[in-house]
Symmetry: C2
Subunit: 196 residues, 2 copies
DNA sequence: TATAAAAACGATCATACGTTTGTTTCCTGA
DNA sequence: TCAGGAAACAAACGTATGATCGTTTTTATA
């Protein structure tokens, strides 16, 4: 045998990404063997290397994609909103929606930081810091305008982010609580925590 | 060669636990090889099996110990406190203090759940649920007494737990923020989120 | 002090892993 | 239409892993 009928580069790469996302999410990066990954895609192990450089590169690629998209989307979402309170509301709603929608990417992006090489990890941490700064910025402007009363900007930002990101670990879209209610409850928690 | 002078059972096991905790915290369970672990303790790889049954058992042992201690301590902490508001304050302060003090155990207890065998995982998840129920109970009583205004008990509990547990991922005891301030900021966020 | 248990050693097992190689076949653009 | 790149295969490489084994020495008990 050799090349399969109907095979095409980009499609296979996309399939590898999707399968990798799933396997890493379910069992962790180290626990995912390239043999398992290849089998899931329908390839021989060695054939993976026609599409990825190394296993490490695949992981970095997945996380990096996620972070870049996250930053793009939040900036798009914030455009045109000036009032800090409105911005905080929009941030909360967006963050939750995005983290529900892409919970696998989010989970991997934090749980598998440790599996990245030092260089790759540095790059991702820098992007994450950028995202955190978006929230810090909102809180700062709100505090300056006396709309918010905040003891410590960064601590509050981390607390809020932790709270909102936490849903990834338990929220089930098919469960008892619907998205709208989830956003309501969390928005209230966030706003009450920072408004005077 | 054979048995080392001065060696004793319980001491060695404690050293294995401590070294394992450290290695798993820093690099993850899968990434920790028993050879590395043995070297850190000062043993040959095979000698570990005089103290642990399997690698999996060591992981379970560490997490289980952590969960049992957590439950014991929170129950001790709550004893004698009746008012829901006071209980919530005490819960928040305790949870933060404990999670700062034992951040390695806490991190492993959530990040390495996936590395547990199905049976072991079930046991741990049950214990975690017990702990979550402690908070749900406080929120429920407070809501019944109209001291709290809460849209959804369990969602709120998860949100609060996520927020408080989040500090494990970034808090540095030697950093800019001292423990007291950290507890203040978070207590305010929690209380404002649930009081009418 | 005699003896069994505890705790270490060093060697080795089978397996699984990420990656490389040489080769074959399919697809596409000139 | 046909050459060359893309994409797959099968096989193998070297290494690392968790675990087992027989043996030896120290510790603790009776």
């Amino acid at each position: 045998m050799s090349r399969t009928v109907g095979s095409s580069g980009p499609k296979t790469l996309a399939a590898i990404r999707e399968a990798g996302l799933d396997l890493i999410y379910k069992g962790g990066y180290e626990a995912m063997s390239l043999r398992t990954l290849a089998a899931k895609v329908g390839l021989q192990p060695g054939s993976l290397y026609n599409h990825i450089a190394t296993k490490q590169d695949l992981l970095y690629d997945l996380i990096h994609n996620h972070m870049v998209t996250l930053l793009e989307r939040i900036d798009a979402e914030m455009e045109g909103i000036d009032d800090p309170l409105a911005r905080l509301k929009a941030f909360t709603a967006f963050h939750l929606a995005y983290h529900i929608e892409r919970k696998r990417e989010v989970f991997i992006g934090s749980a598998e930081l440790r599996s990245l090489s030092p260089k790759n990890r540095k790059r991702i941490v820098a992007l994450r810091r950028d995202y955190e700064d978006r929230l810090c910025d909102i809180l700062e402007r709100g505090a300056a305008k006396k709309q918010f009363r905040i003891a410590d900007i960064r601590v509050s930002a981390y607390a809020i982010l932790a709270m909102l990101t936490g849903i990834c670990t338990w929220y089930d879209p098919k469960g008892r609580i619907d998205r709208k209610k989830l956003i309501e409850v969390h928005t209230r928690l966030v706003l009450d925590g920072v408004t005077p």
